[in-house]
C-alpha cells in the first residue's frame, strides 16, 4: 500500500503536467470547490493521521487547537528542516515529488484559512529548494496558487525559506524564530504556536509527510486512510532505513507490519548484510532509545513488535523505544555501542542552542565523558555519572532537544552497560581500532 510514493518513480513526476496526469491536484479541486474548511479538518480528524515529525500528535486535533480571532492572519508552516541523524524521508519526498507536498500545503492551508504559508527547508538542501521553487512557480502558472484559486475566492501564497543549518531549527518555535529572521532559539511555551506563532499570529507547524498525506485523505476520505494500519497508528509511514542492512533507503510501509518483517523481508530492508547478525536498532532517528536485537523484535510480553507508535513504545523506556521520525538505523555485531553513543552525544553537544543551562552544559559534559571512556580513559564512576547527568537534563529544558540528547545516552547504558564497563576495565583492548565487546551468550555473538 503506497500513498505518498505511489508515483515517485514515474519519470518527470517533478513537473506539474506529469503529476496531474497521475491524479495530482485533484485534492485541491475537490477541497476548494466542493468542501468547506471545516469539512477538510473533519476529514483529517477522521483519518487519525498523526504527526510524522516525531512526537506523533494527531494532526486534526492540532488543527482544531488553532486560535481563530477575527482580523488576524493565520499561517501554516511546513517543517522541512529534517536534520535528525538517520532520517532522510522528507528530503527524498521533496526531491522526487515536490508537487505532493505543494498539493498538501494548498489543501491544509485552505482547511486552516491561511493565506500565506511557508515551507522551511534546511539550508543544506539547496538543490531541493530550487526544485520546490520551480514546482511552486508551475503551480502559480496553473492557477493552483495565487489570488482567487480555481475561481473560489481563496487566496494562497506559498514561500520557501532556507534554514541556516541548525538542527535546533527543526523544533517548531525555534523554526518560527528563524523564519522571522532571528537567532533560532526555541521560545518558551506557553504561548503555543497555535495561539502566537510566526509574527505573533496563530500558526500551525506540521511535518512534510503529515502535510503531504492530507491530499490523499481528501481524495479517498478519512475512513479509507484510517482503514490502513493498526489501532491509533493509521495510514502509511515513510521509514528511512540505514545501517548494516542489504537494501537501505526510504520505504513507505503500512503501519502495523512487524519489525522482523521490515528488517528481514526482501520487500523492505532485505536482512542484515551477509555473514553478520543483528545487534541493535535505533528505531526512530538518533534521539530515540536504542534497543538490542531481542528487544526490538519482541516486546516484553513476548509478542512480535509491530511498526506502530504504540507497539514500539510498549514497555516505556525500560524495554521500549519510539517510532519518532522513522529513522531506522540497524547495527550488526561489528558496531561498538560506546562509539555509536559518542557520535550521537557529540552531535547533540554541537547542536544545543545554549539557551538553557541543563542542555548547554549537560550535552557537552556527556560528550566529554563518553569521549574519555571510548578512548580508554574512563573512570568507574563515569557510568553512573552519565546516567545521573542524563536524568538531570531530561524534562528540565525549554525544548525537547534536552530529552533527545539524554535518551540515547541513558538507553545505551541501560541496555549495553557491559560494553561501557568493558571499555573502562580494559582500556588497552578498547582503544584498538574496530574493537568491539562481545556479550557472552548474546544472540549476535559469533
Amino acid at each position: 500500500m503506497k500513498i505518498l510514493t505511489e508515483h515517485i518513480d514515474v519519470p518527470g513526476i517533478e513537473t506539474i503536467d506529469v503529476f496531474c496526469k497521475h491524479g495530482g491536484y485533484q485534492a485541491v479541486e475537490k477541497a476548494i470547490k466542493k468542501m468547506t474548511p471545516d469539512e477538510v479538518t473533519e476529514e483529517v480528524k477522521k483519518s487519525g493521521l498523526r504527526g510524522r515529525g516525531g512526537a506523533g500528535f494527531p494532526v486534526g486535533m492540532k488543527w482544531s487547537f488553532l486560535a481563530k480571532p477575527e482580523g488576524i492572519p493565520r499561517y501554516l508552516v511546513c517543517n522541512a528542516d529534517e536534520s535528525e541523524p538517520g532520517t532522510f524521508k522528507d528530503h527524498y519526498l521533496m526531491w522526487k515529488s515536490p508537487h505532493t507536498l505543494i498539493e498538501g500545503m494548498i489543501v491544509s492551508s485552505f482547511a486552516l484559512g491561511a493565506n500565506t504559508s511557508y515551507i522551511y527547508v534546511r539550508g543544506e538542501l539547496m538543490y531541493v529548494i530550487h526544485i520546490l521553487e520551480k514546482a511552486i512557480q508551475e503551480a502559480y502558472d496553473k492557477g493552483y496558487l495565487g489570488k482567487n484559486i480555481l475561481g473560489s475566492g481563496y487566496d494562497l501564497d506559498l514561500y520557501v525559506q532556507p534554514g541556516g543549518g541548525a538542527y535546533i531549527c527543526g523544533e517548531e518555535t525555534a523554526l518560527l524564530e528563524s523564519l522571522e529572521g532571528k537567532r533560532g532559539n526555541p521560545r518558551i511555551k506557553p504561548p503555543f504556536p497555535a495561539v502566537k506563532g510566526v509574527w505573533q499570529c496563530p500558526t500551525v507547524v506540521n511535518n512534510v509527510e503529515s502535510i503531504a498525506a492530507t491530499s490523499w485523505i481528501i481524495n479517498h476520505g478519512g475512513d479509507a486512510y484510517a482503514a490502513i494500519g493498526v489501532g491509533r497508528s493509521t495510514g502509511t509511514k515513510l521509514i528511512s532505513a540505514s545501517g548494516h542492512i542489504r537494501k537501505s533507503g526510504v520505504y513507505e510501509i503500512p503501519l502495523g507490519i512487524t519489525v522482523e518483517d521490515f528488517i528481514y523481508s526482501d520487500e523492505w530492508c532485505g536482512g542484515i548484510r551477509d555473514g553478520h547478525k543483528l545487534k541493535a536498532v535505533v528505531a526512530g532517528g538518533s534521539s530515540v532509545p536504542i534497543l538490542s536485537a531481542e528487544m526490538i523484535l519482541n516486546t516484553a510480553d513476548g509478542e512480535k513488535r509491530l511498526m506502530t507508535y504504540e507497539s514500539l513504545s510498549d514497555g516505556g523506556f525500560a524495554t521500549g523505544t519510539m517510532l519518532g521520525s522513522g529513522g531506522f538505523i540497524v547495527m550488526d555485531e561489528t558496531t561498538c555501542i560506546v562509539h555509536n553513543t559518542l557520535t550521537f552525544a557529540r552531535f547533540y553537544h554541537h547542536e544545543s542552542c545554549g539557551q538553557c543551562s541543563p542542555c548547554r552544559e549537560g550535552t557537552g559534559w556527556m560528550d566529554k565523558v563518553i569521549y574519555r571512556i571510548e578512548h580508554g580513559k574512563g573512570r568507574k564512576e563515569d557510568i553512573d555519572l552519565l546516567v545521573d547527568v542524563a536524568k538531570k537534563i531530561e524534562g528540565n529544558t525549554i525544548c525537547p532537544l534536552g530529552d533527545a540528547a539524554a535518551w540515547p545516552v541513558a538507553a545505551a547504558i541501560r541496555h549495553f552497560r557491559d560494553e561501557f564497563e568493558w571499555h573502562i576495565e580494559h582500556p588497552e583492548l578498547a582503544i584498538q581500532p574496530g574493537a568491539v565487546y562481545m556479550r557472552p551468550g548474546a544472540s549476535w555473538a559469533q
Binding site: 541548525a166 535546533i168 537567532r183 518558551i188 553537544h349 554541537h350 547542536e351 544545543s352 542552542c353 545554549g354 539557551q355 538553557c356 543551562s357 541543563p358 548547554r360 552544559e361 549537560g362 550535552t363 557537552g364 559534559w365 566529554k368 565523558v369 574519555r372 573512570r379 564512576e381 555519572l385 545521573d388 547527568v389 538531570k392 524534562g395 528540565n396 529544558t397 525549554i398
Partner: protein, 341 residues
C-alpha cells in the same frame, strides 16, 4: 486568586507568576533566580534554577503538572499548589542546575570583582553540593574588548541573557549579543564594536556573575571592604538615585540601588556611574540597608534593619531560619540544654 506555596496560602492578583507570589511570602520560600529579572520584560526561563513542582494545577483542574515548571514564567491559577523547598525532586534538580552552571565556570572568585555580591556564589552555597564530579577541562574563551568602561570575562558568563534584554529595553540600540551555539555560545559585539551608549553601564548591574564588571572599579577593593551609601544627584539623564561604595573617604564605585532580590530599582546613566566619583557631587541619603546574610554587612552595622514585608508570624519563623552567629550566645545554648533536661 489563592495559591499555596510550601503549605503557605496567600491571595494574589491574576497574572502573578509563581516567583512573584513566592517573593511576597519571603526569601526563604522564593526560588532562586539566576536569569529572571523583574524589571526586564521577557527575561527568565533560561537558567532553570527556579524549577518548582506544581502538585495541583488549579481548583478546576487539580491534576499535577507532569514536569517541573519554571516559577519565573508560570502564572498562578486559582487553587494552585506549588512545592518548592519541601519537594526533594525540586531540590535534587536544583543541585543538578548548580552543577551545570559551575561546570565551565572558572571558579576564580579570589580574583573576581563580583565575589561577595555574586548570585552564583549564593546559589551554589545555598543549593549546591560541596564536591565536584567533573574531570573535564573547562571551556575558555578569547577575551573580547567591549570598550573603555565595561570589562567582559566570558569564561564566567552563565548566559542568562539579562544584558541582552537590558540593551534591548533600556538603551537605544543593542550592539552586543550571543554568538555561536551550545557551550561555545558567548557574549560578544558585532565585529568587535565597542558598547557605547548612555545607559550601557546597566549591563554591569544586571549581570548575576562577574562576567560584566566596571573597568573603573577593577581590582580596587573587595566589596566587603567597601561601605555602601545611598545618594542622589540632580541628573538630567536619569533619576540620579544611586549607591556609592566608599573605601575610606574615596568613592570607588557607583551602582544603581538594588532591592532585596538584587534587582536595580532604577537604571542609572553612565555619567553617574563612571564619572561622578566625588562626594561633593552627591547628596548623601544614608547608609544602604544590607541583608544580614550578605558578606557586605560584615562588621558594619549592629542589627538587621530590613523590615519584613510579610506577616509577623512568618517573620518569626524566618528569624529562626537565619543561622546567624550573632543571634546565638554561649548562654542561650546553656539555657536550651537546661530546658531539655
Amino acid at each position: 486568586m489563592k495559591v499555596t506555596i510550601d503549605n503557605i496560602t496567600l491571595e494574589v492578583e491574576q497574572g502573578t507568576t509563581i516567583m512573584q507570589a513566592a517573593r511576597q511570602i519571603g526569601p526563604e520560600i522564593a526560588p532562586p533566580a539566576m536569569c529572571y529579572y523583574e524589571p526586564l520584560k521577557a527575561s527568565g526561563g533560561k537558567c532553570r534554577g527556579c524549577l518548582v513542582k506544581v502538585t495541583a494545577g488549579s481548583e478546576k483542574d487539580p491534576r499535577p503538572m507532569p514536569k517541573l515548571v519554571p516559577a519565573c514564567l508560570t502564572q498562578v491559577q486559582d487553587g494552585m499548589i506549588v512545592e518548592n523547598t519541601i519537594n526533594e525532586e525540586v531540590l535534587e534538580t536544583r543541585r543538578g542546575i548548580v552543577e551545570f552552571l559551575l561546570l565551565n565556570h572558572p571558579l576564580d572568585c579570589p580574583v573576581c570583582d563580583q565575589a561577595g555580591e555574586c548570585h552564583l556564589q549564593d546559589f551554589s552555597f545555598e543549593h549546591g553540593v560541596s564536591n565536584t564530579r567533573t574531570a573535564e577541562e573547562r571551556n575558555t574563551f578569547e577575551p573580547t574588548d567591549l570598550g573603555p568602561n565595561i570589562q567582559l570575562h566570558m569564561n564566567r558568563c552563565i548566559l542568562c541573557y539579562r544584558c541582552v534584554y537590558t540593551a534591548d529595553q533600556i538603551t537605544d540600540g543593542r550592539v552586543h549579543g550571543v554568538m555561536n551555539r551550545g557551550d561555545h555560545a558567548e557574549i560578544s559585539t558585532y565585529i568587535g564594536k565597542a558598547i557605547d551608549n548612555d545607559f550601557s553601564g546597566n549591563i554591569i548591574d544586571v549581570c548575576p556573575v562577574g562576567a560584566l564588571t566596571d573597568k573603573t572599579y577593577r581590582f580596587k577593593s573587595r566589596v566587603w571592604f567597601s561601605k555602601p551609601v545611598e545618594a542622589h544627584c540632580d541628573c538630567e539623564k536619569c533619576s540620579g538615585q544611586v549607591t556609592l561604595w566608599y573605601k575610606g573617604d574615596e568613592v570607588i564605585r557607583v551602582t544603581g540601588r538594588k532591592n532585596q532580590w538584587g534587582e536595580v530599582k532604577e537604571f542609572i546613566c553612565n555619567t553617574c556611574r563612571f564619572d561622578r566619583k566625588k562626594t561633593a557631587e552627591w547628596t548623601i541619603d544614608g547608609p544602604t540597608q544590607i541583608s544580614r546574610h550578605s558578606v557586605i554587612s560584615a562588621n558594619k552595622y549592629g542589627a538587621n534593619l530590613i523590615q519584613p514585608t510579610f506577616p509577623i508570624s512568618q517573620a518569626a519563623r524566618d528569624y529562626k531560619l537565619i543561622n546567624d552567629d550573632r543571634d546565638r550566645s554561649f548562654l542561650t545554648d546553656q539555657i536550651k540544654l537546661e530546658a531539655k533536661k
